[in-house]
């Protein structure tokens, strides 16, 4: 008989390396037509990082995502970056980009100030204009200011900067310290259907509510969450590398190492928690890894709710769930 159950799991997860320095550097150059080029040493590994990093630069310069061209991942041309690891790209590389773009923007403000009869600190960059704070009608197109700064003043608008999250070393005896600068939080709730005659588990639905600070690109955040859940589903129910007694892998292929396919994926409902981290770039934290963290735990709790057995060794294959059900039945008999 198929029995349904629900289970929840919440989690916390840090952004960046544990104590160890993990800096990023960035270079932002504003072109004389008001578009810009961003140089970053990080690598696009499929998550959409370069789009997000371009958005962060665009925000600081007051221009659109499409106005920024991102050059990445070439040690001959791009500055150092600790890389696409530890859910750090948006936060750490993003913070470096904000700082680099601020340097470039300051040069625009200094060029524009005498033209608008104000001080540089009375200006802001918005909607592709350099405008007087509180008096948006007193403005100049960013293109004009960038051209003026480069070709008349002789100070092209470009900036470079780096960022490293501040940490405090952990005491070796007690572990006390500040290993990370910020953390994200999340809850996932799973609804499952367990066949108590075969042990087979079908995940019907997962609700995922994640914190990433201010989402830079909500669509890409949702994509990360759905991808993380698919990894969590495999971790919960299917995936396991097995070894024989000589230490050789038994199933190093996709025929015998079973992963979730589209057909194994449940309905997923994604929401973000309204949040803003003042230490992040435009309030953002990160989202990459944590999306895969609570899924298996929520599924195991849902299995318990459905059939009353606690799976304490992953993955919860049908065989393992059935064995637990049989053991429970034997005990109650």
């Amino acid at each position: 008989m198929k029995r349904t159950g629900k289970g929840m799991a919440c989690m916390w997860y840090p952004i960046g390396f544990t104590v160890m320095a993990n800096p990023s550097a960035a270079i932002v150059k504003v072109n004389t037509d008001g578009t810009a080029t961003l140089l970053t040493g990080t690598v696009e590994t499929g998550q959409g990082a370069l789009t997000v990093l371009g958005q962060i630069a665009a925000e600081t310069l007051g221009i659109g995502t499409d106005d920024v061209h991102v050059v990445s991942a070439d040690t001959d041309t791009t500055p150092m970056d600790t890389g696409a690891i530890a859910s750090r790209t948006t936060y750490v590389t993003g913070n470096a980009i904000v700082r680099a773009a601020e340097v470039a923007r300051q040069l625009l403000f200094e060029a524009a100030a005498p033209l608008l009869n104000v001080k540089p600190d009375q200006l802001e960059a918005r909607d592709r204009k350099i405008q007087v704070l509180g008096f948006p009608s007193r403005s100049l197109p960013i293109a004009n200011v960038a051209l003026y700064a480069e070709s008349t003043v002789g100070r092209p608008a470009l900036g470079s900067a780096s960022y490293n999250p501040p940490t405090v070393d952990m005491d070796p005896e007690t572990g006390q310290g500040k290993p990370f600068n910020t953390y994200v939080y999340a809850t996932q709730i799973a609804e499952v259907e367990v066949d108590d005659e075969t042990g087979e588990v079908e995940i019907k639905k997962i609700v995922a509510v994640h914190d990433c600070g201010q989402p830079i690109n909500p669509m890409l955040v949702e994509g990360q969450i759905e991808g993380g859940i698919s990894m969590g589903v495999g971790y919960a129910l299917q995936e396991e590398i097995l070894f024989d007694d000589t230490g050789k892998q038994i199933n190093p292929n996709l025929t015998n190492y079973i992963m979730p396919t589209a057909l194994d994926m449940p309905e997923i409902h994604v929401e973000l928690v309204d949040n803003y981290d003042p230490t992040g770039p435009h309030g953002a934290k990160g989202v990459g890894e944590p999306t895969a963290v609570p899924t298996a735990a929520a599924i195991m709790n849902a299995i318990f709710d459905a059939v009353g057995v606690r799976i304490t060794t992953l993955p919860a294959t049908a065989e393992r769930v059935m064995a637990a059900i049989n053991e429970k039945n034997a005990q109650s008999a």
Binding site: A9, P14, T51, D211, H282
Partner: protein, 463 residues
Amino acid sequence: MATKPTKDVIDQKVGIQDTDNSLTGALRVKEDHPVIYPLSLPENDERQATPAVGQSATRSDARLHGLGQTQYIDDIKFPNMIYAKVLRSERAHAKIVSIDVSEAEAMPGVYATVTGKEFPTNSFGPTLQDQPVLADTVVRHFGDGVAAVAAVSEQVAQEALKKIKVVYEDLPVVLDPEEAFKDEILIHGPKSNTYASKVIKKGDVKKALAKADHVFTNRYKTQFVEHVPIEPHASIALWDGNGRVTLWSSLGRITLGREDISRTLDIPQSKVRMIGTIVGGNFGGKNEITNEPILALLSKKTGRPVKCTYTRGDEFVSSTIRHPFIMDYTTGINNDGKIVARKIRMLLDGGAYCSWTGTTIGKGSILAAGPYNIDNLQVESFAVYTNKTTTGAMRGFGAPQVCFAYESQMDEMAHALGIDPLTIRLKNTFREGSLSPTSQTLHSVVVEESLLQASEAFGWNRG
């Protein structure tokens, strides 16, 4: 902005209107389908909008992926390029007595071979440099490379591997992490198999456990899993006439990659150029070098660009995988559902080499108690070498493992005490300004909000 085009328009512009599967069609090269700009493909307004943050802008690389214009390593070809394959160990633990590559080198179509002894510094690793580029004295798991061949094609390189003669002298094998912890069989010379540990202590766990209304003790275990990126590890090396080597690589961190190439080959960083191509999935598995120094040396020997793409089998056996954890949780809780003490001991299967174990044990230990205020806490974790595939960075660095343990036990306790799983969590979760297990003051904390919002969206209380 651009209006949404019909399918016919897209097909016509992209040149995919011809769907015939005749031999002529199948043999046609990509150039038969030129991508002529501008295309009437949809573009969303969010890419133009200001402010840029908060916009669901379409990815700048999406269109090129869709059109097949993105160049993954597999798409990159150079004139006179040759292909490398790596011979893997036939033992989980053995001394290498000798490696004879002469027959392989004599094979028609083979350009060069390389073994571990030829690397100026035959070791690498993001924390401990305990891993050889190619094993030259000892193999510690079946995934260790022992020699590599560069040949005119992948097939010839694969055939040549069969001609390499390696003589091994078996060493005792230890596979079980609890056995490895006893140090009866040592994997890395005279040193203990326990190569990383972490302690976190706060309050008085013993006293608080004695005073708690209930004490729950449970063991949780997790398995080895692989990242399975769609694109396996791949790279191309070209050593030029100025003695400068350029590497196109699927590595996720080129800054560290360049340092490792410079170190293993003993050449200045200024003589190394590393280009990170668009990567078809990383998930932590591409955060350290693999075959890059091997290809560099093969290119130096042959004067040709050398490419190596892992097979799916290589990917499983020789790249890193996720750490299995054995986790013992003892938790003291009062009748009202408030956790007063938690004692955790964890043993990580560290595989044959360190890789990113330091980070995994660190994050795993710091996060192990969950997002909960627990005044009395003790976490002790150990990672040991075993003669199995190297465990390293994988999405979450130990967090999915410990979350499975702390959230399973949370529900066990809730069930035993007759408290709703949501209620018991809300009773214990971090709030703004809470102190973490390392006594860090937390900011921007929204775990309670996430619990309530998810419960609302799911309809948790609707029976």
